[in-house]
């Protein structure tokens, strides 16, 4: 490992002075980031050998996905207003930037910010009902909004590309390594922003809103302001992610299933539940893990004997069943549980026990 200097460059949170003095879990997190930073240099990646089909391209996709998952977590995991249609923000960002680029010929430097602005507005638009409509009713609104948008897209398919998607959008680069670093930069940026915000007073208030909104009002704070802030922030970064995704990883193609579909929204929730709801690092790790395992499952060529169905078709079923298991037996998610267990182990034995598996995958 390249050591301290690498760690400091990779860590843009800017809170650290000496990585050696940090708690063990933060050291592991930094180490994980460093590993991601040097990953393309360590080609052939197969040498790492934990998943043989793992490539730079797949990790790029995983980094984007992890960003999406974090944007869901910062709204729904923290404020408790469960959004079933988070892909809306990603789709709005991706399609705004894509359509402006294709139809008007706007360069990417202008179209990407436009996508971010449009997605922030979408965040505002979804955020406002959350002030009035609570709990399951709000979830219903978030569930149907992307479906309405998708139907409208299909209706105006000459402009939007309909269900097959919008093709021929400009790209930042076609080089996998450059794209990897775009995704990595976005990942670190999103992680830093979300960690900073959720560890600040605003983050405390968001958590307080989830626990008891009346209590927040009673101390003279306006929950509406904080909720809208979370929605706009989440929309903006989700939109940025969606736009960059289309201009890099997706190679200039925006499809509903990859940026807007219901399945994507659900996958974000599933990944957060696995990683740990209401914890940004848990969401990031859950997102990376989910995407890579999904990719791996899709490439498995084993066929289930009795049903004669390849495992690759079963990935969503498998994740669905795992999620049901998590909801029952591990509702707080993997990362918080591992950290807690590690703490417990260390507390029990004087010998400083090694937290196992607490780092990034």
């Amino acid at each position: 490992m390249a050591g301290k200097t690498e760690a400091e460059t990779a860590d843009t949170v800017g809170l650290t002075i000496n990585p050696l003095e940090l708690p063990r879990r933060h050291q592991l997190g930094l180490l994980g980031l460093v590993a991601f930073a040097v990953l393309p240099l360590a080609a052939p990646v197969e040498a790492i050998g934990f998943i043989s089909s793992l490539t730079v391209l797949q990790v790029t996709g995983a980094l984007f996905f992890a960003v999406y998952v974090m944007t869901w977590d910062v709204v729904s995991g923290y404020t408790g207003e469960i959004s079933f249609g988070h892909a809306l923000f990603i789709g709005v960002g991706a399609y705004t930037s894509g359509m402006l680029n294709v139809h008007i010929g706007l360069p990417l430097v202008a179209s990407i910010p436009a996508g971010v602005i449009a997605a922030s507005l979408a965040g505002l638009l979804i955020g406002f009902p959350s002030l009035r409509v609570k709990g399951p009713y709000f979830s219903l609104i978030t569930l149907v909004t992307p479906i309405i948008l998708l139907r409208v897209f299909v209706y105006f398919s000459d402009v939007t590309g309909g269900e097959t998607g919008l093709f021929g959008i400009g790209t930042i680069s076609l080089d996998p390594v450059t794209n990897y670093y775009v995704a990595f930069a976005l990942f670190v940026f999103a992680l830093a922003v979300f960690l900073a915000i959720t560890r600040s007073d605003a983050g405390q208030i968001l958590t307080a809103i989830r626990e008891d909104e009346d209590a927040v009002v009673s101390v003279g704070l306006n929950p509406a302001k904080y909720k809208l802030f979370a929605f706009v922030l989440s929309g903006a970064i989700g939109g940025l992610g969606g736009a960059l995704y289309v201009h890099t990883y997706a190679q200039g193609v925006a499809t509903p299933s990859e940026t807007l579909g219901l399945v994507l929204s659900i996958e974000l929730i599933v990944a957060t539940i696995l990683g740990g709801i209401g914890t940004i690092t848990g969401a990031a790790i859950g997102g990376l893990f989910f995407f890579l395992v999904r990719t791996w499952l899709r490439n498995v060529e084993v066929t289930i004997p009795v049903l004669a169905v390849p495992v690759s078709e079963l990935y969503f079923l498998i994740f669905g069943l795992i999620t049901l298991g998590f909801l029952f037996f591990l509702p707080e998610g993997l990362v918080p549980r591992v950290l807690m267990e590690a703490k417990r182990l260390r507390g029990r034995s004087a010998a400083d026990a090694q937290p196992d598996g607490g780092g990034e995958p």
């Binding site: 408790g80 079963l314 969503f316 049901l324």
Partner: protein, 286 residues
């Protein structure tokens, strides 16, 4: 004229079917405050039960019994096995029903594949109605749907068990005070809801076809229906079902089939924002 007659027949029939789906959905919400996102899975389950029974060589009427019974058991099992255990966490319940519904869809995708499957009609032949031929199958489905809705009305307003459902959806504490076992009422409400959705699934599959994702659209429509009619209100659900069916059919015939379902969803969002208690609902309890 033919167009209008066509529209009227479609709306009459679809309204009855949507009512079946929406009543189950709204009953579950009324008693337990649970939005059952796995309700669409009961529809699919009903259609596929009937399909497999007829494939095994039995008559479609035996298939109809299966379409009634299996989703009821599934729905009952879901309450007893899952929902009851996490009842205190509304967010978990919501995600749980969603994931459970998706798992059922995936199971049918894997076992039966994506291709649409045909189910034999309950009865053959056509009848002249409003200057146009209407399949007897549709008429039977319409009559059966209304018989079931009528029976349900009777059950809920006249029998002790049915009144218990109403009592619980009005006030949990009040119901507990007069000795109603809430858990028991929840359980048979889920059972009834599953059966209603299953039979709707059978009808839908016998007019069109069965496919693993067939439960999604009716589920989305029933969101709109129950929100429009007022969550927890049976009468509101029936009226809402007819309103939504009318709006949807008008959109499809006048504008484009590609906009099928969009009007309903727009209505849903608008009603939630403007009048969240719906046309016939009580004030939200939350």
């Amino acid at each position: 004229m033919v167009n209008a007659a066509n529209l009227a027949v479609n709306v009459l029939l679809l309204g009855a079917l949507y009512s079946l789906v929406a009543i189950g959905f709204t009953l579950i919400f009324g008693v337990g405050g649970v939005l059952n996102l796995a309700h669409g899975a009961s529809i699919t389950l009903g259609a596929y039960s009937a399909y497999y029974v007829t494939q095994a060589g039995a008559s479609i009427w035996i298939g109809a019994v299966a379409a009634f019974g299996l989703p009821a058991l599934f729905s009952y099992g879901m309450y007893k096995g899952m929902i009851r255990k996490v009842a205190g966490h509304p967010i978990t319940v919501l995600i749980l029903t969603l994931v459970a519904g998706l798992v059922i869809e995936q199971v049918f995708l894997v076992v039966a594949g994506t291709q649409p499957l045909a189910i034999p009609a309950l009865v053959d032949g056509q009848t002249q109605l409003l200057e146009r031929g209407v399949e007897n199958n549709r008429i039977v489905a319409f009559v059966l749907s209304w018989l079931i809705i009528g029976a349900l009305f009777y059950f809920v307003t006249r029998t002790k068990q049915g009144k218990a459902i109403l009592a619980i959806s009005m006030s949990h504490k009040g119901a507990a005070l007069v000795g109603i076992d809430a858990d028991n009422v929840y359980a048979y409400t889920w059972l009834i809801a599953g059966a209603l959705a299953g039979i709707a699934g059978l009808f839908l599959a016998s007019f069109l076809t069965a496919n693993p994702l067939m439960g999604r659209n009716p589920l989305l429509l029933s969101f709109a229906i129950v929100v429009l009619g007022g969550l927890g209100s049976i009468r509101g659900s029936v009226i809402g079902a007819y309103l939504i069916a009318l709006m949807d059919q008008v959109t499809v015939t006048m504008i484009s089939t590609r906009l099928s379902g969009v009007t309903a969803l727009v209505v849903l969002v608008v009603v939630l924002l403007v009048r969240p208690e719906g046309l016939f609902g009580r004030e939200l309890a939350e």
